[in-house]
Amino acid sequence: MKYSTFNQALVNPLIEPMFFGNSVNVARYDQQRHSIFEKLIEKQLSFFWRPEEVDVSRDRVDFHAMSDSEKHIFISNLKYQTLLDSVQGRSPNIAFLPIVSLPELETWIETWSFSETIHSRSYTHILRNLFGDPSEVFDDIMVNDEIKKRATDISKYYDDLIFHTQLWQTQGEGDITIDGETYTVTPRELKKKLFLCMNSVNALEAIRFYVSFACTFAFAEREMMEGNSKIIRLIARDENLHLTSTQHILNLWQYGEDDPEMQEIAEELKDEALAIFTSAVEQEKKWAHYLFKNGSMIGLNEQMLCQYVEYIANLRMAAIGLEPQYDQTSNPLPWMNKYLVSDNVQVAPQEAEISSYLVGQIDSEVSATDFGDYDL
C-alpha cells in the first residue's frame, strides 16, 4: 500500500477508521467522523505560548544558590524532559501521519507535535539563561545511562510501528526478509503495533512527565525557579491535552466506536497494555531514586514522589478502562494541583506586554505593506 500525499481515490472520510483506512486527500473539516479532534486542535491553538514570553532571568540567582544535590535534581529533570519532547516533537508525525485516515485527526497530530517543538525550544531558553553555554547539559543526554535506559523504552514502540509501516508501504503484505531477518507484515500485525504504540505514548504523557513536574513545582513552592515553573505549567497544560487525545483514541477503539478490528485487538492485548503502564511506573520510580541519590530537596523525597507516581497512574489507568493497580488512592502531593489548574496559568503583566507588543508589531507590519502604495 504505497503512500500518496494526495490520494486520488474517491473516499468517504465519514466511514473511514482513524488509522489504516484510505489515506487522507482533502483537508476538510466541514464534515467529521470524530469531531473531538477538531475541538482539541482549537483548544491547543488557544493555549499557544512562546518560551521567550516568560522571563526566566531571576532563576539564575536561585540556581546558583542551590545545593549540589538540588542542582542535580533540577538539571537531570530538564535533561529527561528534553529527551521526552525530542521524541514527541517528531514521532507522532512520523509514526501516525503515514497511516492516518481522517483529516481532523491528521491535523490534530500535526498540531500536537508542533506544540511539542515549543516545549523543546523552551528547554534551551531555560538552560541558556542558567549557563550561557548549555551545550554540556545537552551533550550529556546522549551519554547518560539513566536517560538512555528510558530513551530505549520510549522510542521502541514508535520505531517498531514506523519500520513495519515502511515495509508494508514499500513491499506489501507477507513475510519480508531484510538483512537476514524475517518480518511478518499483515494488516492485523500492523494494527497490533499501532495499539501498543498508542498505549506507550499514552503512558508517556500520562505519567512520565510527572516526576519532573513534581520537582519543578516543589521548587516553586519554595519560591525558587519561578520562571522555570511558569514554563513547566504551560507545558503541563499542553501535555494534559495531548493525554486526552490518546485517551480518546484508546477509548474509541475499546468501545467499538471506530475500527471493529481495533476493538478486538484492544481486548486481545489488554494485558500488554497494562504491562506498558506498570513498567513505565517502575521506570519512573527508578528515576526518582536516581534524582535523589545525592540527597533530597526540601518538601520532597523519593518516597513521596513514588507515591505520587502510583496515585497518578491509578487515575490514568481508570481513564482507559484498565484496573487501577496501586494502593495509593489519595494525593500525597496536594499542592501539585494548583500548578495543574489551567485557569491559573497566567503570564505576568510585563510579560503580557511583550506579547501585546509583538502582536502590535505584526499589525503595524501588515499595515505598512498593505497600504504601501497608497498615499494615506
Binding site: N240, T244, A318, G321, S330
Partner: protein, 87 residues
Amino acid sequence: MTKPLRVKVNSDVLFEVPAQSDASLLQSMEQAGVEAHFHCRSGFCGACRTHLISGEVAYTTEPLAYVRRGDILPCVCVALSDLELEH
C-alpha cells in the same frame, strides 16, 4: 423556591446543593469536605472523573476529555437531581 438536591459521595459523605447552583459539582464536593481529584478544572484533562451511580447532571461546559460510560466530569457539571457518586 425549589428544594435543595442531595448528593451522596462514596456512601459516606452526604451534602445538599441548591437546585440551581452557581458552583460546579466539583466545588460543591470540595466544600462538603470530599478530597477530590482534579487538575485542569475546565473539562479537558479528565482527572476529576467520577462514577455516577444514580441521578442526572447537566454540563455547563462541553467536556473535551473522554467521558466513559457511567462517568461524569464534576468540574464542568452541576446536579439536576439527587445524586449518588463514587469518587
